[in-house]
């Protein structure tokens, strides 16, 4: 069965409809790339996959999102439980203020009931290594997370999401603030993660989408214009608008 199945999803901010009747499925161990022009609803879409959209004042939606055989919008489902199984890296880096680098990464582990210092230290190191940040921070783990540079903060947030090893990870433009080397390493990481988890990644970088994803979704003005195998979307797009967008002739 599909790990992610979105059925007729529409989402609003107050009166404004940001997503229009989206349906898509993704299998386990796949990387799904979301592409589309700014403001087309990519962030809104990923935020519907972990029930964060409803936290925005005026945010509401219709439709179903099935994760691992369960409709996360079924009555009685606790959004807190949904979010524990879905890691998220936000578009803007948002380390917790007043927490050290170590605490930023370990807070989710503590929440999951891990309190042994040694285990925490090991998992934190592992997550920071995966996020390609370890070498830069290993001697300053006590420093506040907010004292890092923008790109380092973004990698810290990646580590924070990875630490709890969720089966689904949502990444909203995780590499937009990173240099080419870190970007390449994060892309490598996503390839590794595929072994265990399903990754949904928003990106403005066509090459990146083509390189790392198995499926690509092209959004436009709140609609899902095209969704399919990545090679297919990039080599033989079914929709003319997709073709125009990926070849950079949009406008």
């Amino acid at each position: 069965m599909e790990l992610i199945a979105v059925k007729n999803l529409s989402a609003w901010f107050g009166e404004f409809q940001a997503l229009k009747n989206i349906s898509l499925v993704a299998e386990r161990h796949e990387v799904v790339a979301l592409i589309g022009p700014s403001g087309c609803g990519k962030s809104t879409f990923v935020r519907c996959l972990n029930r964060l959209h409803e936290e925005v004042p005026g945010g509401h939606l219709q439709g179903e999102v099935w994760l691992d055989g369960q409709n996360i919008y079924a009555p009685g489902v606790d959004p807190v439980n949904v979010r524990r199984g879905v890691g998220m890296v936000f578009q803007k880096p948002n380390p917790f203020p007043g927490m050290s680098i170590f605490e930023n990464v370990s807070v989710g582990l503590r929440l999951a009931g891990i309190s042994k210092r040694a285990v925490l230290a090991e998992k934190v190191e592992q997550a920071l290594r995966q996020a390609v940040l370890w070498d830069e921070v290993k001697d300053v783990l006590k420093r506040p997370g907010t004292s890092l540079s923008g790109g380092q903060q973004q990698r810290l947030c990646i580590a924070r999401a990875l630490a709890v090893e969720p089966p689904v990870i949502l990444m909203d433009e995780p590499t937009s603030a990173l240099d080419p080397i870190s970007t390449a390493k994060i892309e490598e990481l996503i390839q590794e993660l595929k072994e265990r988890v399903t990754v949904v990644i928003v990106t403005h970088n066509m090459q990146q989408a083509a390189r790392i994803s198995d499926r690509t979704a092209f959004f436009l003005l709140g609609e899902l214009v095209e969704y399919g195998k990545t090679d297919q979307v990039f080599t033989q797009p079914q929709d003319e608008r997709t073709e125009r967008y990926i070849t950079g002739r949009f406008g």
């Binding site: 964060l52 807190v80 524990r84 890691g87 948002n94 203020p97 007043g98 927490m99 929440l111 709890v164």
Partner: protein
């Protein structure tokens, strides 16, 4: 080439700047005047006895305000124990959950409470507590707490609202329940500012006299329990200052100096905290 600024404009500029400067000086003058005056008048009254002994009758040598200092400390502690958690709870509610009409009304009520004259708070506590249980440190603490609650509530709310929404979302996204996001992320992230709000509320009530007159009354001696009339610095200062006896007036100045120093110190500590970078 740019034209030179005309002489007239330069003169007007200088004049206006001078006026503003004079305004700033004049605003600060009372502060220096009060500090100097209180220091000059009060310093002579301070001694070891002042901090260790209770007052003596008019015309007698020695004596101090130890009971008032202890009484004030006790009542400020009681007020803090009641007012800080209560005020913070209210502030947290208003900031984190307070959407819609009810919250709007509550917010307005809290604002109004901030501006209720403190003497009215005193009469209120007199009516609901003192009439039934008599004058006591409890009643005094309660009156001060009622003054603290809205101040703490509003400062807490304003401070928590400064925490950006995306920080809260980061916590929610990790699967923390809302209350844990508040407790573990939002509050620790603003602890310096929150502490500042609390300290300023404490400084504000430390010098309150009117609400204590009706509630703790005052006491020439140490109180034996919290349910007895209790001395406090402001009330003691008030009583001594109007006594007409020079010794007692001198004591009152000593008390005033201690009170001013206490409030200054709170403000200085607060400033140090604000300057400190916790993030």
């Amino acid at each position: 080439m740019f034209e030179r600024i005309s002489l007239r404009r330069r003169l007007v500029n200088q004049l206006m700047l001078g006026l503003l400067f004079a305004g700033a000086i004049l605003a600060a003058v009372p502060f220096f005047f009060i500090s100097w005056y209180v220091l000059q008048k009060g310093l002579g009254a301070l001694s070891v006895e002042f901090f260790t002994q209770t007052p003596v009758g008019p015309g007698q040598q020695g004596g101090g305000m130890a009971n008032a200092i202890v009484g004030s400390s006790i009542m400020l502690t009681l007020a803090s124990l009641l007012g800080i958690p209560w005020g913070m709870a209210a502030g947290i509610y208003l900031s984190e959950y307070g959407r819609g009409k009810t919250a709007q009304t509550l917010r307005f009520a809290v604002d109004l409470l901030t501006s209720v004259p403190s003497i009215v708070v005193g009469i209120f506590i007199y009516g609901v507590i003192v009439i039934h249980f008599g004058f006591s440190a409890y009643a005094g603490g309660a009156a001060l707490a009622v003054i603290m609650i809205p101040i703490v509530a509003r400062s807490t709310e304003e401070i928590l609202k400064l925490t950006p929404q995306h920080i809260r979302e980061a916590g929610l996204g990790l699967g923390l329940p809302r209350w844990r996001v508040i407790l573990r992320i939002v509050l620790p992230g603003s602890r310096a500012a929150l502490l500042t709000g609390v300290m300023l509320a404490l400084a504000r009530v430390a010098g309150e006299t009117a609400p204590l007159l009706f509630t703790a009354l005052g006491n020439q001696f140490f109180s034996h329990s919290l349910s007895e009339p209790t001395s406090s610095l402001p009330v003691q200062i008030y009583n001594f200052a109007k006594s007409g006896y020079p010794d007692m007036e001198a004591m009152a100045w000593g008390g005033a100096l201690v009170l001013v120093l206490f409030v200054f110190i709170i403000n200085l500590v607060t400033r140090a905290l604000m300057g400190m970078r916790w993030n």
